[in-house]
């Protein structure tokens, strides 16, 4: 190929953080005008590699070629000058600025803003037309939907004349419809000759949107293949290094008596805004109720209210016994005593104390358990350690060292610690939030199997996940949440992603009340 046929070439990139080799001799070549996927498990080194490309880290060894020219990228300003734009997973927007102000932030022409704003307004209008990127330039960012905020990030990069766009897990916060729109935008950009790097862990998106895909595993680049010539199964195997079961095997549910009954549950946040607007449902023994929805539509509040973390109003009964929703008895300890186990959505802030050891975390929430006490005064730390060692073995937590701090485990193994703790409590009701967020494929497979096993053992399970695939493959019934309400219930065998996606966006198809 002629010199410069590749927008980006990375040659022999290595980067170590202390003893951890995050990237080892990475070689990758991205042809100009293509969408290139980078896929890999958590901690495979994708983010490190992109951070090197964007100037956040400096590689220990190796060379970066942009359009065939060796380029040093010591900081993000140099990356922008080299024509690289980055759209982060967590947007870097000023919430109370307008779209226009956000776009010029850091790219102003001079101390006075008016000329910059006028120029930006013109450029933005052109860009919006060209790429289906319409956003109201005068809208405040805080008033925009997540999908629109992401477009502002893309516009920011394009305004800085980016030819190479890196998107880090761009669809994590989007509805399926918004994700589809994003991929249309990306294809439009590609048609205009832009080069796009898409980092994701969703195999479906790779298959749908990319031309080529590079697979990373444990800091190395395992393979780069043409998307058209590969399959999800092959990619999963490359990522994990062994064959992986993508489908969840489960027998039909045989629901028993009602375990949890929720009537008109409402939650207000600290500003008095109603986040949960009257939710009602039942879960039976031996049944998984999956809650689908875009993050931030009341799922977290539902879980936290049932888990005793926040106050709510309404009527909730567990096996016929009313659960207090505020005041005395509405706390995590009372809920655990009542027979509710809770795998929280956010394991870093809620599920674990990262500075605590694995064994201390195994007693988290269960420090009052009689088998963990030596006598009335002292805890039996040795008993907790022994119990932890046993559970770590059962749930295949690696490394199986009870004395290791939680933060030293990988995301998947951290989640296994939480899951081991909660699943082994023999609860009547299990609240499970985002059980596989940031968890590698191998661990996902394991956690899903355990969840099905609990259902088959007659537990009632409430599953909240933003991964529609997960909801569809695990649930016996699906409830879709939007704006603090349940939009409807669906049977996973008769519904599809399209229908659920519309419900997730607040559009009801069958005449149900919104």
């Amino acid at each position: 190929m002629e010199n410069g046929a590749y927008a980006i070439e990375l040659k022999g990139i290595s980067k170590a953080f202390g003893p951890v080799q995050a990237n080892r001799d990475i070689n990758i070549a991205v042809p100009r005008g293509t969408i290139h996927g980078i896929i890999g498990e958590n901690g495979a080194g994708k983010s490190t590699l992109m951070s090197i490309l964007y100037g956040f880290y400096r590689a220990d060894a190796g060379q970066i070629l942009i359009n065939g020219k060796p380029t040093a990228i010591p900081d993000s300003q140099s990356a922008i000058r080299a024509g690289i734009g980055m759209v982060f997973q967590h947007f870097k927007l000023v919430q109370n600025f307008t779209v226009l102000e956000n776009v010029i932030l850091g790219a102003e022409d001079g101390p006075m803003l008016n000329s910059s704003l006028a120029k930006a307004r013109k450029t933005l209008a052109e860009l919006s037309q060209e790429y289906e990127l319409d956003v109201d330039p005068d809208a405040l960012v805080e008033d925009l939907s997540v999908g629109h905020q992401q477009r502002v990030e893309i516009l920011k990069a394009l305004y800085r004349q980016a030819d190479i766009l890196i998107l880090d897990e761009p669809t994590g916060v989007l509805t399926p419809a918004e994700a589809d729109h994003l991929f249309r935008i990306l294809k439009g950009l590609k048609a205009q000759g832009k080069t796009i790097i898409l980092i994701t862990h969703k195999l479906r998106e790779i298959m749908e949107a990319t031309d080529n895909v590079s697979v990373m595993r444990r800091g190395t680049m395992v393979d780069t293949v043409r998307t058209a010539e590969t399959s999800p199964e092959q990619l999963a195997e490359l990522m994990v290094g062994r064959k992986v079961l993508l489908e969840v095997e489960k027998a039909p549910a045989s629901p028993g008596a009602v375990v949890l009954s929720v009537q008109d549950l409402r939650v207000k946040d600290e500003h008095g805004v109603e986040r949960l607007k009257g939710v009602s449902f039942e879960i039976r023994a031996g049944e998984i109720l999956g809650i689908a929805g875009v993050a931030g539509n009341g799922q977290s509040e539902l879980m936290e209210a049932l888990g005793g973390m926040i106050r709510a109003t309404g009527a909730v009964t567990l096996k016929g016994q009313p659960l207090p929703l505020s005041g005395k008895g509405a706390d995590g300890q009372s809920r655990r005593r009542a027979g509710i186990a809770h795998v929280p959505e956010d394991r870093h802030h809620h599920g674990l104390i990262l500075d605590f050891t694995a064994w201390e975390n195994m007693a988290f929430g269960y420090f009052n358990e009689p088998e963990y006490q030596k006598n009335r005064l002292l805890m039996d730390n040795a008993a907790i350690r022994a119990d932890t060692a046993k559970k770590m073995e059962t749930f295949d937590v690696r490394p199986p060292i009870p004395g290791l701090q939680a933060k030293s485990f990988s995301g998947g193994n951290q989640q296994k610690i939480v899951v081991a703790r909660e699943f082994e409590q023999d609860p009547d009701l299990l609240l499970v939030g985002q059980p596989t967020r940031g968890v590698d494929i191998g661990a996902i497979e394991f956690i899903h199997k355990q969840l099905i096993a609990l259902r088959d053992a007659g537990k009632a399970v409430l599953l909240v996940s933003v991964e529609l695939d997960e909801i569809m493959s695990l649930s016996d019934r699906i409830a879709v949440m939007f704006d603090g309400k349940i939009m409807g219930f669906r049977d996973p065998d008769t519904t599809d992603e399209r229908e659920l996606g519309l419900l997730m966006a607040g559009i009801t198809g069958k005449g149900e009340a919104a």
Partner: protein, 366 residues
Amino acid sequence: MDRLPRWADVALVPLVSLILAFAIAALVILAIGQDPWEAITVMVQGSVMNAYGWGYTLYYATSFMFTGLAVCVAFHASMFNIGGEGQALLGGLGVALACLFVPWPHWSLALIGATASAAAFGAVWAAIPAWLQAKRGSHIVITTIMFNYIAASLLQYLLVNTLKPVGQADPASANFPPATHLPALNDIPLLNLVFTKAVPANVTLFIALAMAVLVWVLLWHTRLGYQIRAFGKSEAGARYAGINPTFVIMVVMLISGGLAGMMAINNVMGEAERLLGNSASGAGFIGIAVALMGRNHPLGVVLAALLFGFLFQGGAELGLWTKIPIEMRIVVQGLVILFTGALDVMVRMLLVRIFALFRPRTMEAA
């Protein structure tokens, strides 16, 4: 940031900080035209090279152990209690009231009674800021430091208007009755073979050491300690686990205030044997440095308290035997606090880099 091996974290970082602090103190002494070597010799001679010096060093260290433990306990719940000074002053009031108004038959009973009273007074003084923090969100750092001033004023008022015996000029309480006299180390059989001269260090030292052990048991071997540490590491996590924040904040501050208050049995009951206006004399603040340097571990607190006891006694010797003013001990203390507390990260990063030079890069990516 990379992490240091445990031994370096626990021992090397404080040691390097300390050496840096002393190096700069030496420069200050040079700058005022004195001999740093002479200074360190006098300090060491006067504080740890003979039993008499130890009698003072241990006396100061006892006070610092109490206030250091007070900061340490609260710190594990993420509560920065810098009101140890005020709580110790109130503890002194508790000791004085117990000693003056209860006819104790024997010093041992007086010790138990005065200890309980001191702890109760200190705890009550910490309870108000704790309640304001738990229920009203008033920041504990602000309120506890304000309570130091309130405590000082309250004590002055009571000494001048209520506790001062008629006809006495200085604002102090009456002398405590002889039955409340605590045995100094030179009064204790066997120990009196070592401590031949009268020293201020007294039986309170053993209470302080016992408290260090109890704090260790509390924090790492009880459900309460587990809840304190969990709450301190992650308030959001505590909410998930069902740990009651109000309960933890109140209990930990009561314990912390109680420990700070108990310091008064060392200085008020054990040494002065009457209540003076400025009885805590800064030990409450030194407790912060002691806890910082002791890495908020009871054993570390005991060792750091000994170091500060040495600085206090050695500094006094400087004022006595050299032309270096006694205030130099405040300079040295300040430098030690600066380096072990505020500049801790600087030293740590330096050591991390040095360690990285000697470490083979072999481990696999996670």
